[in-house]
Amino acid sequence: MSGEIVLKVENLSKFFPMKKSVFSRAKHFLHAVDNLNFQIEKGKVLSLVGESGCGKTTTGKTILKLYEPTGGKITFLGKDVTHLHEAEDKRWFHSKTQMIFQDPFESLNPRKTIFDIVAEPMNIQNFGTLKKRELMVMDILKRVGISPPDAFLWRYPHELSGGQRQRVAIARALVMKPEFVVADEPTSMLDVSIRTQVMKLMMELIKEMNMSFLYITHDLAVARYMADEISVMYLGRMVEYADSEELINNPLHPYTKALISAVPVPDPEFKRKSVEIKGGIGKPIDPLPRCRFYDRCPFAMEICNQKEPELVDVGQNHKVACFLYKKDGDTVA
C-alpha cells in the first residue's frame, strides 16, 4: 500500500464551454470532469468505470494534456505537471506517459507502415539512432505477439486483423517504456476470444514493466479483472472508490449498485434482480449544487437536493459520495 506514487490528481476539473460561435462568450459550461481526486501507485492499475458521458475519457485525456485542465493539480513522479510550458518539461512528460485507444481501426494512421507507427514516439522525441529504434520496434512487436516482427514491419494497418492492430497500438504505447499509461476501453471493439488474449497480454506487460495504468472502461467485469482499484464516475463526479474486489462485492452507492445489477450474467439459471433506477443519463451542463444522481436515485432524500455529497472514507480504503453513508451529525445542516 505504500508504494511510490506515480500520479496524483487533486481537485481536477475540466469544463467545456458551450459556444455558439467564435465571437460570442460562452454562457454555459459542460462540467465533464468535476473535482476529481485520486492517486496511482507504481505498478498499480486504477480503473475508471461509468456509462458514456460520465467524463472518464475526458479525465484520461486531461491528464495526458490533450485538454488543458480548468482547475486542480496533477502531480506526476513528484513534479507538478498541471500546465507544461518549458519544452524540456513537455519532452520529459510525453516520453514517460502514453495512451492506448479504443478503436484499433482509427488509432493507427492508415497511410503509415507498422514500423512508422510503432517508432513514431521515438521519432518525435528524437530518441536514439535509427538502428536502435529499429531494434526496439522489433523487440516490442515480438513481445506483444506480432511474430515474426520483420514480416509485419512494412505492412499497413489495413493488412492486419483487429486483434493484431490493437497489439500494434499497445506496442507503440509501450515502446519507450512509459511509467504511466491511460488505456481507454482498449478491448471493447475486439471480438470475445481476441479480447481475452489482449487483456492477458496487458496484464503481463504491466507486471513485467512495472507500469501504472489508468484503465478506462464501461464494463465492470473487465475492470474487476484488470484493476487493483476501481473508481465509479457519474456525470463528471467520482461517486465511489475502492479496491476492486471490495467494490464488486460490497457496492455502497446506489448508482454502483444499479450498475452492477444491470450486468448480464452468463448463466441462464441465475435470476438477476435489477435495481430499478428512473430515467436516463443527462448532461452535466451548469449542474445545480446537489447530488447529480438525485433525479434517478431510489433513495433520494431532501438533503441530496440541497448540496453535493463529498467523497467520504467509510473504512478499508472504501470511499463513497452519498449522504446515505455520512455520519448522522453531519447530515442535517
Binding site: S193, K200, L259, V263, P266
Partner: protein, 330 residues
C-alpha cells in the same frame, strides 16, 4: 408446438474478386412458436449473414447457393420478390444492428411507424394507424405524446424503443434482433432487454437474438446456437449449453468472459484468430485453435450430430457429456 421458422442446410456465399466467401455454410435450425433463440458468435462468423438470408436482404454479390427456409408453410428462398415483401414486416421483422441510425432524421418518429403500417396494410386509415402507434408506444414503455417528436429529440434508449415499436407495427410472427443493445449503456441495455422479453411473452412471438455477448443471450434466449466461421458448431437449450458445453469453442467462449459474480477466476484464452472464410479449409475450421484437435480433425470436417437429446454438436471430440459430468461430481 408448431415450427414457425425452419432453416434447412442453408448455404449463402459471397462472390468476391478474390474468390468465394462461405459466409453461411450448412445452417439448419428450427424455431417454434413463442420460442426465443440466440445466435452467438464473433464478428464475421456468419450470424448476420444468416439473418440477412432469412430476410432476403442480401447484397448484390451474395447468393443463397442451396437450402430451404420455411416460414408459414412456404419456402421463402423460392418465392417472388413481391411475396417476400409481404413476408417482411408483416411476417418477419427485424431490429437492425445500428438501430439508432435506422430512423430517418427528417421525419417525425410516429409518422415513420405509421408509414410502415399503411404501406403493408393499405386498408388501415391514418387514425387507426395512429391509434396503433400509440398503443405500441405504451407497449415498449414510451410516452405516446412523444410520437410527434423528431429522432434527435430522443435519447439512445428511446430511439431503440421506437425502433422496437416499429418492428412490432405489423404484428409479425417472428422478430430478428441483430445486436439490439450493443451500442447502449449497461443500465439501458438491461431495461431494453427486459422490455423485449416481456413483449415477446405477451404477444407470444418468436425471436431470434443475434449477439456476440453470450451473457446477453443467456438472459433472453431459451435456445442457443453457437456459430463459428460460417457454421453452427453447437446448438441446444440454453441451460445445456451453459452447463454442459460440448464443443471446445463453446467451452473456450464460456471461460474467456470475465465475470462479475462469484470469485475472481483466471481467464482462459482461445489462442489464434478466426479463419478467413475466403476459400475456407475442408478440415474442421476450429482445428487450428483447438486444444483437443487430433489428426482426424485436420483431415475432414466433423458432421453436425445430435449427441444427446436435443443437443447438436459438430465436433469429433465433444466435451462435458453427461457421463463425464457425473464422474466429476461423483
Amino acid at each position: 408446438m408448431k415450427a414457425v421458422l425452419e432453416v434447412k442446410n442453408l448455404k449463402m456465399y459471397y462472390d468476391t474478386q478474390a474468390g468465394q466467401v462461405k459466409a453461411a455454410d450448412n445452417i439448419s435450425f428450427s424455431l417454434y412458436e413463442g420460442e426465443s433463440m440466440g445466435l452467438v458468435g464473433e464478428s464475421g462468423c456468419g450470424k448476420t449473414s444468416v439473418s440477412m438470408s432469412i430476410m432476403r436482404l442480401l447484397p448484390e454479390n451474395a447468393r443463397i447457393i442451396s437450402g430451404n427456409i420455411f416460414f408459414g408453410g412456404k419456402d421463402i428462398v423460392k418465392i417472388s420478390n413481391e411475396d417476400m415483401n409481404k413476408v417482411r414486416w408483416a411476417g418477419i421483422s427485424m431490429i437492425f444492428q445500428a438501430a439508432m441510425n435506422s430512423l430517418n432524421p427528417v421525419y417525425r418518429v410516429g409518422d415513420q411507424i405509421i408509414e410502415a403500417i399503411t404501406t403493408h396494410e393499405p386498408n388501415v386509415t391514418f387514425e387507426e394507424a395512429r391509434q396503433r402507434v400509440a398503443s405500441l408506444y405504451k407497449l415498449v414503455g414510451l410516452d405516446p405524446e412523444r410520437m410527434d417528436n423528431y429522432p434527435h429529440e430522443y435519447s439512445g434508449g428511446m430511439k431503440q424503443r421506437a425502433v422496437i415499436a416499429m418492428s412490432l407495427a405489423c404484428n409479425p410472427k417472428l422478430i430478428i434482433a441483430d445486436e439490439p443493445t450493443t451500442a447502449l449503456d449497461v443500465i439501458v441495455q438491461d431495461t431494453i432487454l427486459r422490455e423485449l422479453e416481456k413483449i415477446q411473452k405477451k404477444l407470444n412471438m418468436s425471436m431470434i437474438y443475434i449477439s456476440h455477448d453470450i451473457a446477453v443471450i443467456a438472459e433472453v434466449a431459451s435456445k442457443i446456437a453457437i456459430m463459428y466461421a460460417g457454421k453452427i458448431v453447437e446448438m441446444s437449450d440454453s441451460i445445456t449449453i451453459f452447463k454442459r458445453p460440448a464443443h471446445p469453442y463453446t467451452v473456450g467462449l464460456m471461460s474467456s468472459f470475465p465475470s462479475i459474480r462469484g470469485p475472481k477466476k483466471e481467464l482462459v484464452t482461445i489462442p489464434g484468430e478466426p479463419p478467413n472464410l475466403l476459400n475456407a479449409p475442408d478440415h474442421c475450421r476450429f482445428a487450428p485453435r483447438c486444444p483437443f484437435a487430433t489428426d482426424e480433425c485436420w483431415k475432414k470436417e466433423p458432421s453436425y450430430e445430435e449427441i444427446e437429446n436435443n443437443h447438436f454438436v459438430a465436433c469429433f471430440h465433444p466435451q462435458n457429456l453427461k457421463k463425464q459430468v457425473r464422474n466429476n461430481v461423483g
